[in-house]
């Protein structure tokens, strides 16, 4: 932080830094309160005279491609997480850069996974200065303990696109890992030995980055059909043996929760969607790939079948359960942001009604609207929620940064936002007085569904009215909290922090909604 950086209170009363990594910040002002202006960032003008007329942009190695892109100290390097924990490209890029002597890079992944743990070593060595992107598990722990040189910046999928458009993050070199590409750089994720589904997370980078490299293990002759990334935006194509470990890219089977408590939550959420009248012909919903969300999809499918109701579209995270809905006529379309399992990958390749989307279409704050606010109901999770319905998905109650935001914040604009969470995990209550970190403001969260009761935000009197005759266990949130604290032995101790910000949580509009402070060591 610059010397003149200070901590100020934002509209939620959270202390946030005015400067992050040398850049001025706007504190969060409230939902829809911040009015952005100016013009969008644009990449430098290139011309076709600089590229081979035969369209063959292949270079011999990643090192050569990085060299041609002018790799130097302090650059911003971006990667994407469509290979999830099977990714073999991001680490290879950073390690190649290290070998070439680069220092102080800013790594800008759309998300990181446990397979990226070795980046810690690259930060220790000074190759990577800091990370702006989700930091899961070990990387989050490293950041929480104040070991990263810069401040971590966490953005939603939509927020990442917005930061790139704003020029808040200027990507020097975007490296796009592709399951199939042609020598011109057109590429796609639906085919090839490492097929992973949609490449939507890489789309912004392909449009706005200074330099774009496509890395693939499956070159096909021009044209690569279909293409999701346009070769016209691509500088170089590099062929490697393997871009990822297919067994970790997609899980062969997505696992529905077997816990009776969580099944109960899922079933009651489905019942809420039905009984509130949201489930009607032409409606839409979104649910992730977590155990409760998957069970919700199967319960809701059953209820839709019984009632003869069909959805217009469902949004994924696609899984075999959404694919089943599509194939049995329970929905007209799947609008797919991320493809989680083999059935999803097969479907997106074969079925034109299963459509790949991107954070631009789904979530972008600077778009002229986006899909997320058109979805009738969304089912999400959280690590903590509070009695004002604020929710946290980034840190745990012990203060450690352990998860990214993903599309979570962007989804909060759905017609009905439902957080499906257990009321406690082991002994740790999930409902607290004040969340450790605000990832999403309570005014956008309508329902908190736990196994021992469903709390509805008092701001949603309409929803309470719609559910008046329902036999769902609707209870005040304070009452559920007290019951859980009763058997857990009172509220948990609060985490202790130093005054040093180690990461900031951006709201979807680019303002700072909260700060993660360094945890105090014993």
């Amino acid at each position: 932080m610059k010397k003149d950086a200070k901590l100020v209170k934002n509209a939620l009363g959270r202390r946030v830094p005015t400067v992050v990594n040398g850049r001025e910040q706007t504190p969060y002002k409230g939902v829809g309160r911040f009015e952005p202006d100016g013009r969008k960032q644009a990449p430098p003008i290139r011309s076709c005279r600089d590229f081979p007329a035969d369209g063959d942009k292949r270079v011999a190695s990643l090192e050569e491609a990085l060299k041609k892109c002018g790799l130097r100290d302090g650059m911003v390097i971006s990667n994407h997480h469509h290979f999830r924990n099977g990714d073999r490209v991001a680490l290879r890029v950073l390690e190649t850069a290290a070998k070439m002597g680069a220092k102080d890079l800013m790594w800008f992944p759309s998300a990181s996974f446990p397979c990226h743990e070795p980046v810690i070593e690259l930060m220790d060595k000074g190759v990577v200065h800091h990370i702006e992107g989700s930091m899961n598990g070990p990387l989050g722990r490293y950041c929480s303990h104040g070991k990263m040189r810069g401040v971590g910046v966490l953005r939603s999928h939509g927020g990442r696109w917005q930061a790139v458009q704003d020029g808040e993050v200027k990507i020097d070199i975007a490296i796009i890992a592709a399951p199939t590409a042609d020598p011109f750089g057109n590429c796609d994720g639906s085919h090839g030995p490492s097929a992973c589904g949609s490449l939507g997370f890489a789309l912004a980078d392909s449009i706005y980055a200074e330099n774009v490299i496509v890395v693939t293990d499956n070159v096909v002759p021009f044209p690569c059909i279909p293409w999701q990334i346009q070769g016209n935006n691509v500088d170089y194509v590099v062929e490697v043996d393997s871009v990822g470990d297919p067994s970790k890219i997609v899980s062969g089977t997505t696992v529905i929760t077997r816990s009776p408590d969580r099944q109960r939550i899922a079933r009651q959420v489905a019942q809420l969607v039905r009984d509130s009248g949201i489930m009607r012909d032409g409606f839409s919903f979104q649910a992730g790939a977590g155990g409760i969300a998957l069970a919700f999809v199967t319960y809701l499918s059953e209820m839709m079948r019984d009632a003869g109701v069909k959805a217009r579209f469902v949004r994924g995270g696609s899984t075999k359960y959404l694919v089943e809905m599509l194939e049995t006529g329970l929905t007209d379309y799947i609008l797919d942001g991320q493809t989680f399992d083999l059935d999803g990958v097969r479907s997106i390749a074969e079925d034109p009604r299963h459509v790949p989307t991107s954070p631009f279409t789904s979530y972008n704050y600077h778009g002229k609207g986006n899909f997320a606010s058109m979805v009738d109901a969304v089912v999400l999770g959280a690590t903590e929620v509070d009695v004002d319905f604020n929710a946290n998905v980034n840190t745990h109650s012990d203060g450690l940064l352990l998860h990214g935001i993903g599309g979570w914040q962007n989804c909060l604009t759905a017609g009905c936002t439902i957080l499906a969470v257990p009321s406690f995990r082991d002994r740790i209550p999930v409902i607290v007085d004040k969340v450790t970190t605000v990832t999403g403001p309570g005014e956008l969260i309508d329902v908190i569904a736990t196994e021992r009761g469903i709390a509805i935000n008092p701001r949603r009197q309409d929803l309470l009215d719609a559910l008046a005759g329902s036999d769902l266990p609707i209870r005040p949130i304070e009452e559920i909290k007290e019951e859980v604290e009763g058997f857990c032995g009172g509220p948990p101790q609060r985490a202790r922090f130093t005054d040093k910000p180690v990461a900031v949580i951006k709201w979807v509009d680019g303002t700072v909604i909260d700060t993660v402070f360094q945890v105090e060591e014993d």
């Binding site: 109960r264 109650s397 012990d398 082991d426 002994r427 740790i428 196994e451 058997f487 032995g489 101790q493």
Partner: protein, 413 residues
């Protein structure tokens, strides 16, 4: 799970509870009694940042209540709730050879209404008595009863651990209206269970492997003594698990006024008659029918065994419907997902309810008109049929299938 007791000159050690990667909501406590040095507590807890201070103060206070002044206490905790911590600490102290003058009872926070003899007992959810992680949410799944099991699901070396855990659970765990049943061990070990359990007022005790009525009478006497002057009912459900037990079913059912139901244990019964169990259960056909008849004769409920294949919901449904036809009124559940199927199967069907409503309406009309004979259309209705119809309509109201305020005479003809 291992209990070690080393007795030396200076110290003796006792262990209770469980630890390991896969253990959740439990803890292991090792207590080494010493002659000096106060309480030396070593705590490793998965919830240290949240409840570390709370665990330390709870354990320190517990040792004082138990009358232990000098000991090393090693705890590995995986997010156990306070009533579990209390049970494990007490069990470890006892295992170390110190018999506390006062037990370490958590403050009682639940005292459900007493249950009645003829309470609905369609489902009873089995909870292994030494597995605390299932306790706290067990009542949410809507079973008519939960069984805190001290018998077959608890390893021989963990009997004390489980007994104290179940004792504490009866004082603090809210089972959300489910009847709280405890299955004690086979006598005489079961007597030790009764001593700890009865004062905590469960609603029903299952006595395993009952073969003779005097076993029930013995349990009855112990309960009466343990309850002192308390008027609170404590029901019994003997489990018949042998050929001899089946032969004595009627006398067992009548051995005590506390007997509210009879049930059967099929694993042990099959072993006793020397026939392996089959999916259709032909080998126990006779025993189940004989027992059901004996229960009816003694005016107690007939309750079936369990259906072990928890993933086979269709098989369970078939089993329940056949069981209901024999006269059983409920059965055990090994997994919450069995509850709903079981309830639906043992509930009266809509067609049965509708017919019963018509009979009741005809009965009320006949009464109003002062007629001695009830008839429906051209058919005469016998008094036992009327009685059964009245009971069925009553049952349907209790279940909410029929509105409580609806008078039977308004029912459609």
């Amino acid at each position: 799970m291992k209990r070690r007791k080393k007795t030396g000159e200076a110290s003796s050690t006792g262990t209770a509870g469980r630890r390991g990667e896969r253990v959740r909501s439990d803890l292991q406590v090792e207590v080494e009694l010493r002659t000096k040095g106060g309480i030396d507590l070593e705590l490793a807890s998965r919830v240290e940042p949240y409840y570390g201070d709370s665990i330390r103060s709870q354990v320190t206070a517990a040792m004082s209540t138990l009358g232990v002044e000098h000991a090393r206490v090693g705890i590995e905790d995986a997010g156990a709730l306070p009533f579990v911590i209390a049970a494990r600490v007490e069990a470890a102290v006892r295992a170390a050879g110190h018999q506390p003058a006062t037990p370490l009872l958590p403050e009682r926070t639940v005292e459900p209404d007493p249950s009645t003899r003829d309470r609905r007992r369609r489902s009873r959810l089995y909870l292994p008595g030494n597995e605390p992680k299932f306790f706290i949410n067990a009542g949410l799944h809507g079973a008519d009863a939960v069984i805190l099991d001290l018998e077959d699901s608890v390893a021989a070396e963990s009997k004390t651990d489980a007994r104290l855990l179940v004792r504490n659970a009866l004082r603090v765990v809210d089972f959300h209206g489910a009847e709280r049943m405890v299955r004690i061990n086979q006598l005489p070990l079961g007597f030790e269970d009764l001593a700890e359990i009865v004062p905590q007022h469960p609603e029903l005790i299952l006595i395993p492997k009952v073969e003779r009525p005097d076993q029930v009478r013995e349990v009855d006497a112990i309960i009466a003594e343990a309850l002192g002057g308390s008027e609170r009912p404590l029901w019994l459900m003997p489990i018949l698990e042998s050929a001899l037990g089946i032969e004595h079913a009627f006398d067992i059912a009548r051995a005590s006024d506390r007997v509210a139901a009879l049930t059967i244990g099929l694993e042990d019964y099959s072993a006793d008659i020397g026939v392996p169990r089959s999916a259709e259960g032909v080998e126990s056909n006779y025993a189940r029918r004989r027992m059901a008849n004996a229960a009816k004769a003694a005016r107690v409920q007939a309750i079936d065994s369990v259906y072990s294949d928890v993933d086979n919901i269709e098989g369970l449904e078939r089993w329940c419907l056949a069981s209901k036809q024999i006269g059983f009124e409920g059965m055990g559940c090994l997994h919450p997902r069995q509850i709903e199927v079981i309830h639906e199967a043992y509930n009266p069907t809509p067609a049965q309810i509708e017919k019963a409503q018509r009979i009741v309406a005809a009965f009320e009309q006949a009464e109003a008109e002062g007629l001695a004979v009830v008839s429906l259309g051209s058919k005469m209705i016998d008094p036992p049929v009327v009685k059964q119809a009245l009971r069925l309509v009553e049952q349907a109201r209790e279940l909410g299938t029929l509105p409580a305020d609806e008078s039977a005479t308004e029912a459609k003809k």
